[in-house]
């Protein structure tokens, strides 16, 4: 028998065949409709950017997975999300437009991943960016659009986790935990290692008993609005300010009727460098992975020369599709 020839695609990439493509297209169409309905016009940006541009948005882009020189010797990089390219686009193309500016996208992005875990190095994100609308109303608007988008694709059980990116870092500052000790604690929190966090907090000299208790209690606080009250009881100015920010966002969400979609989470920490204030994660009970994320990045636009507050989210299209299929399956089973 003749040997069949196999031409693989690189790990973490894949082909999409018509049946799946039809479903993905339907998913995209539903998302576009939800974004449009809320006044978010679609934009597209190049897949490749100057590495310097991406790095301006987030220093850690210095390690962007896929970088190469073009024929002129300029260093280019594949985008790893749409937030920085859109910050660049808004700062340069909409110089004279009155904020707020609302844009949406469905686009491919690229990251170095471990393909063995089912992660993709090429993946599709669908999201919105709201530029020039400060917290709490801007944040509440973004979560409202996110909620509508989840409903539009049938994920009515999906939940939005809402935390505060500054809370833990500033709390460490307030308690006088600095430099290496602070970095080690943040590193454990980012790694979801609560046992290691406990050990690192114990190892810090000169912490008050209350300070220690606050550092250990916050990461476990997640739930409805009652956790804000519990957090306030821990005391301290930083906790007070962060809970006030979250309370304001929560109240704005309640006014818009989407507060019950939100799970407040004081232990939330996202690994991107540009977040300030509110951070988001999206979960569905049918799937063990997160479906998307986002938050505020009030200092990002300034790095591109337009000092505007901003917020946004990105849904990961492929996991969204899996969650949709899983929800349908569970419904059929009853």
């Amino acid at each position: 028998m003749m040997q069949r020839m196999i031409h693989p695609t690189p790990p973490g990439t894949r082909d999409v065949l018509p049946e799946e493509m039809r479903e993905l297209r339907a998913l995209e169409t539903a998302l576009h409709a939800a974004f449009d309905e809320h006044g978010y016009g679609e934009v597209a940006t190049p897949t490749i950017e100057y590495a310097e541009t991406l790095q301006r948005g987030d220093e850690r882009y210095a390690n962007a997975a896929y970088r190469f020189f073009d024929e002129r010797g300029d260093l280019l990089a594949m985008r790893s999300d749409m937030t920085i390219p859109i910050a660049r686009l808004v700062a340069t193309r909409f110089q004279d437009q009155e904020p707020p500016i609302r844009v949406s996208y469905v686009a491919r992005a690229y990251r170095a991943v471990n393909p063995q875990q089912g992660q993709m190095r090429e993946f599709t994100q669908a999201g919105v960016e709201l530029i020039g609308a400060p917290a709490p109303d801007g944040t509440a608007e973004v979560i409202t659009v996110l909620s509508a988008a989840l409903d539009a694709v049938g994920l009515t059980r999906a939940v939005v986790g809402l935390g505060d990116a500054d809370l833990y870092r500033q709390l460490l500052g307030e308690l006088g935990v600095e430099e290496e000790a602070r970095d080690r604690i943040l590193d454990r929190l980012a790694a979801h290692d609560l046992v290691g966090l406990d050990a690192e907090v114990e190892a810090v000299d000169g912490l008050s008993a209350e300070g220690r208790a606050t550092l250990l209690a916050l990461p476990a606080m997640r739930g409805g609005k009652e956790i804000l009250e519990r957090a306030r009881e821990l005391g301290g100015e930083v906790v007070e300010r962060a809970t006030a920010r979250l309370q304001a966002t929560y109240d704005a969400l309640a006014e818009r009727g989407v507060a019950d979609r939100v799970l407040l989470d004081l232990g939330l920490l996202r690994d991107l460098g540009y977040y300030t204030g509110a951070i988001l994660e999206v979960y569905d009970p049918a799937l063990g992975h997160i479906l998307g994320g986002g938050g505020r990045y009030d200092t990002l636009l300034d790095r591109f020369g337009r000092d505007l507050p901003a917020a946004g989210f990105a849904l990961y299209l492929e996991p969204l599709h899996v969650a949709q299929a899983e929800e349908e399956r569970q419904e059929e089973r009853g």
């Binding site: 939940v159 979801h192 290692d193 609560l194 290691g196 009970p285 049918a286 799937l287 063990g288």
Partner: protein, 225 residues
């Protein structure tokens, strides 16, 4: 008889699924489950079933090294495994929620008793050759201590490697040190102390916070004395 349970991933409303490790941590884990008030009689008497329905929990049994995989994917809401497994599979995103304190072992660098091969290879050959079942832990240890090493991954009895000359030393998990001594090996450096840990799926940790925290508290009370 075991029932085949639903295969869907994280079922809000269903029982929490807890993945428990067969092997070295098995009997301590069953003892801990007894102390949190779970009836383990069926697990103790039936060694062939993989899934057990006990009061309030679905228990799924597997190799310790598979537990982060199942928990990360949400196929189990929670799991119990060794810190050695978590260190080796650092990229798995799971919440490490509790140190269960039992199953304590040391991850060590060991060489042959009185044998200068480790230091000599480092000086003369630029790096030592290390056989291990934990290549990522070994590589990280040498990187962090600023040394070069050729890490050779083996699957079976790692003690064999220095005896027959595959490697100058080994990085391995040691409970009593008996196996090392029996093979003429001695501990040169301690890399980490590893105990059993309770881990949780990222989504279950959020969406089933109350149940997860309840179980964590029961385990905390049962194991923190």
């Amino acid at each position: 008889m075991p029932r085949v349970v639903s295969t869907s991933r994280a079922r809000a409303g269903g029982k929490l699924k807890l993945a428990i490790p067969r092997g070295a941590l098995w009997s301590d884990t069953l003892d801990a489950l007894d102390r949190v008030g779970t009836d383990t009689a069926e697990l103790r008497s039936d060694s062939r079933s993989l899934v057990f329905e006990v009061d309030g929990l679905t228990l799924v049994t597997m190799r310790p090294s598979d537990i982060p995989t199942y928990v990360e994917a949400g196929a189990a809401d929670l799991g119990i495994t060794g810190k050695d497994v978590l260190l080796e599979q650092r990229e798995r995103v799971v919440y490490e929620v509790l140190d269960l304190h039992y199953g304590a072992c040391r991850m060590v660098l060991a060489g042959r008793e009185g044998d200068p091969a480790l230091g000599e290879s480092e000086r003369r050959l630029g790096g030592m050759r290390i056989a291990t079942k934990y290549p990522r832990i070994a590589e990280r240890h040498f990187e962090e201590t600023g040394r070069q090493a050729e890490v050779i991954e083996v699957k079976g009895s790692v003690e064999l490697a220095p005896i027959v000359g595959l490697a100058d030393g080994i990085v391995d998990l040691v409970a009593t040190g008996r196996t090392l001594a029996d093979n003429g090996l001695e501990v040169r450096e301690e890399i980490a102390v590893c105990t059993a840990r309770l881990v949780a799926n990222r989504v279950s940790h959020k969406l089933r916070a109350r149940e997860v925290d309840g179980l964590v508290e029961r385990f905390r009370e049962a194991t923190q004395r």
